[in-house]
């Protein structure tokens, strides 16, 4: 098993506003997925709906079967929560606990526990009491307990956000290892783009209870379907400029860019649009170049790792953009020339949806 479909899912906690609205998503077998969005976007609600902890309008299908009357314990899933849940007993007993009613011999159970503890490097602490462990170790135990029964689906709800930052990487390494060793469907809820891009292949970006884009991580990054996605993914997020089609060109008050033939028809009709371009895609030159746009460098922020953010203003201060890169020869106050690479520029309508014609 493990293909999960959500059809027209809507849920409201208070009967007035919808926590999630009209969600349609398909998670296929053994895929790695993330639900990514800011707090309050509905991602945890959606996970609870999949788990069977909330009953929504619409349909939840597991392998084509409606799940309306299937309670949590009968769905082939395991869950890991933001705050690690461990029982006040040894780590070994914690891992053994979900197997207590399984029809397996004692020896088989023990082998399974040892297999999982090897995978998660829990062997050195197997005899320690789980409730005495720090957050990172407790969460590792909780992960192990979720894995032990071999459920086909693993739901993870912000499993790292209560862990000390310096230990998160260790846990990410373990989660990645689980993904490689245990064939499962993973659905990972997070507000952190790094976790989504690192631990999944396909991402649903959510905001205000809706899914804005459901795509491979490469597309989410390179072709945000929506300005919110472009802003939310990336630090800094996408540059967004207000433009208007004037005399056949893309006009931004104090500079213009050549028209995009493919979109000419749409723009002739609607005139106004928004242009999005990622700060890391902009080319910066200290020398004047043909068709590059003059800007001045207002401020520089050192990011470390050899990277800087340039805060740039157009000639008459009508447009502000950021560029991300090495730029070792640029100083504050410099005049620079910027190229907006044609294949990296995206055009959006007034509401922020990408125009795809």
């Amino acid at each position: 098993m493990a293909r999960i479909e959500l059809k027209n899912i809507t849920y409201s906690y208070n009967g007035e506003t919808n926590a999630v609205e009209d969600i349609n998503l398909t998670f296929s077998k053994e895929g790695r997925y993330s639900l990514l969005g800011p707090s309050g976007c509905g991602k945890t609600t959606l996970l609870k709906i999949i788990a069977g902890l909330l009953s929504p309008q619409g349909e939840v299908l597991f392998d084509g079967q409606g799940m309306r009357d299937t309670p949590v314990e009968d769905r082939d899933i395991a869950m890991v929560f933001q705050f690690p849940v461990v029982y006040p007993m040894s780590v070994f007993e914690n891992l053994m606990f979900p197997l207590r009613r399984k029809k397996m011999s004692k020896k088989e159970k023990k082998e399974r526990v040892l297999q999982i503890s090897a995978l998660l490097e829990l062997e050195p602490i197997l005899n320690e009491r789980a409730n005495k462990l720090g957050p990172a170790d407790s969460q590792t135990v909780a992960l192990g307990r979720a894995l032990i029964k071999g459920a086909a689906v693993l739901l993870l709800d912000e499993p790292l956000s209560s862990i000390e930052p310096e230990k998160r990487t260790l846990l990410r390494i373990k989660i990645k290892r689980i993904q490689e060793e245990e064939k499962k469907l993973f659905i990972y809820v997070t507000h952190d783009q790094l976790e989504a891009l690192t631990l999944s292949d396909k991402i649903a970006v959510m905001n205000d209870g809706r899914v804005l884009q459901f795509d491979s991580k490469e597309k989410i990054y390179d072709r945000p379907a929506n300005l919110f996605v472009g802003y939310f993914i990336g630090s800094p997020g996408m540059n967004i400029l207000d433009g208007e089609l004037k005399e056949g060109k893309l006009n931004f008050e104090d500079f213009t860019l050549p028209a995009i033939p493919r979109l000419q028809g749409y723009l002739e009709q609607h005139k106004k649009f928004k242009l999005g371009v990622r700060p890391e895609y902009l080319h910066v030159s200290k020398e004047e170049r043909e068709e590059w746009i003059p800007f001045k460098c207002d401020e520089i922020e050192e990011k470390g790792r050899g990277v800087r953010i340039l805060y740039l203003k157009s000639e008459n201060n009508q447009n502000e953009i950021k560029a991300l890169g090495t730029f070792s020869d640029v100083s504050t106050g410099d005049k620079v020339w910027i190229q907006f690479p044609r294949d990296k520029v995206r055009i959006y309508d007034k509401k922020g949806q990408q125009i795809t014609i």
Binding site: P165, T198, Y231, R278, E302, R305, L324
Partner: protein
């Protein structure tokens, strides 16, 4: 001109030394980052400066005056906490006014100061709201506003951005920097953070605090470019700087710093500078390249443990000959292969003394030396 000086500050709780022998000087109107991991003693240090706890030993001077025994309300020091503690029953206006009321200022002065500060922080529309009606970012902005309303010589910010999500942190860090470096703002800032990126992008000076001790202090950007010691190099880079133990070896007439078959630097021309047996080679994660850009580049073969991907770069957790290493690429990239080869320039290596941990020099090859 120094404004704040700590001399031999120590803080003991039971028998444990939370802080020991802290002696620092802070320049007037500087922006000093106190960089340190969780548990380094940053918050304790701030509480001692603010006066809410007493040091077991040592003296604190503000503008040359000993304030060690002065109560908090008599010190010209303001503090913003990590978990912003606003009074839930008071409006934003009253929250911001509270330090001025405590100082028994007149109503018209309070109104003017609160409104001016709210204007600067662009939160004029929030003044009548209660804390529960605010988002996380707005709440933190109010807490910052409340600290800035209090006229102080020194403002202490204790990880003000740590509890915010990354999108908010991005805009708030710039906003905070703009406010605190704006013309007309005359306060001195001490800013505690575990995050070296924040220290690097905001501060002019950095003090590294570890296990209750000052490891190093100095100008931020220079120290980043030329890390003065191993402890600083480790903490002032995310992911941390690669450190390879190496020894001095002789092959015929040539002298090498040898860390592994691939990491090996010819130091024959530097022999006058190297008198110890053991050294540590440091290499910033971002100078590992995926392609060979020139014949002089050295290959490094690694196993990939994890690639952490963000749009602004990929952190690579690696193993080189059984030892941990890290890499950073300035673009998002996922790897299918586990065994990878990277390339580095020899002049990107730092040579540290193994014994003292201090930087000896940045490596230069014979060719560079001649230039």
């Amino acid at each position: 001109m120094e404004i704040l000086r700590l001399e031999g500050i120590e803080r003991k709780v039971l028998r444990k030394k939370i802080l020991q022998d802290i002696s620092i000087e802070v320049k007037e109107q500087s922006f000093t980052a106190i960089l340190g991991p969780v548990g380094a003693g940053k918050t304790t240090l701030f509480k001692i400066i603010a006066g809410s706890i007493k040091p077991s030993k040592g003296k604190i001077y503000l503008r040359g005056k000993d304030i060690t025994n002065l109560p908090p309300q008599k010190r010209r020091v303001a503090m913003v906490f990590q978990a912003f503690s606003l009074y839930p029953n008071l409006t934003v206006y009253e929250n911001m006014a509270s330090p001025l009321r405590a100082a028994r200022r007149g109503e018209s002065e309070i109104r003017e100061k609160v409104e001016t500060q709210a204007e600067i922080l662009r939160m004029g529309s929030l003044l009548d709201k209660h804390p529960y009606e605010l988002s996380g970012g707005e709440g933190q902005r109010v807490a910052i506003g409340r600290a800035l309303v209090k006229e102080a010589d020194v403002y202490l910010f204790d990880e003000p951005l740590t509890n915010l999500d990354y999108k908010l942190r991005e805009s708030m860090s710039r906003e905070l920097k703009d406010i605190l470096t704006a013309e007309g703002f005359e306060g001195t800032i001490l800013y505690a953070t575990p995050n070296c990126e924040e220290a690097l992008s905001m501060s002019t000076e950095t003090i590294l605090l570890q296990e209750g001790k000052v490891i190093w202090g100095g100008p931020t950007l220079e120290s980043y470019l030329m890390p003065p010691c191993i402890a600083f190099a480790k903490n002032f880079s995310s992911p941390p700087m690669n450190l390879f133990e190496c020894r001095l070896t002789r092959e015929g007439n040539e002298l090498y710093l040898y860390a592994s078959k691939e990491i090996k630097l010819n130091v024959t021309h530097l022999k006058g500078l190297l008198h110890e047996n053991g050294y540590i080679l440091g290499l910033q994660p971002h100078v590992l390249y995926t392609e060979k850009k020139g014949p002089e580049m050295m290959p490094i073969t690694v196993n990939l443990t994890l690639a952490e991907i963000t749009p602004s770069g990929t952190m690579l957790y690696l193993e080189h000959e059984g030892k941990r290493a890290t890499g950073f690429l300035q673009f998002p990239q996922d790897f299918k292969e586990k065994s990878l080869q990277f390339f580095v320039y020899s002049q990107d290596f730092f040579i540290f003394s193994k014994q003292s941990g201090e930087l000896i020099m940045k490596y230069r090859s014979v060719h560079n030396g001649k230039n």
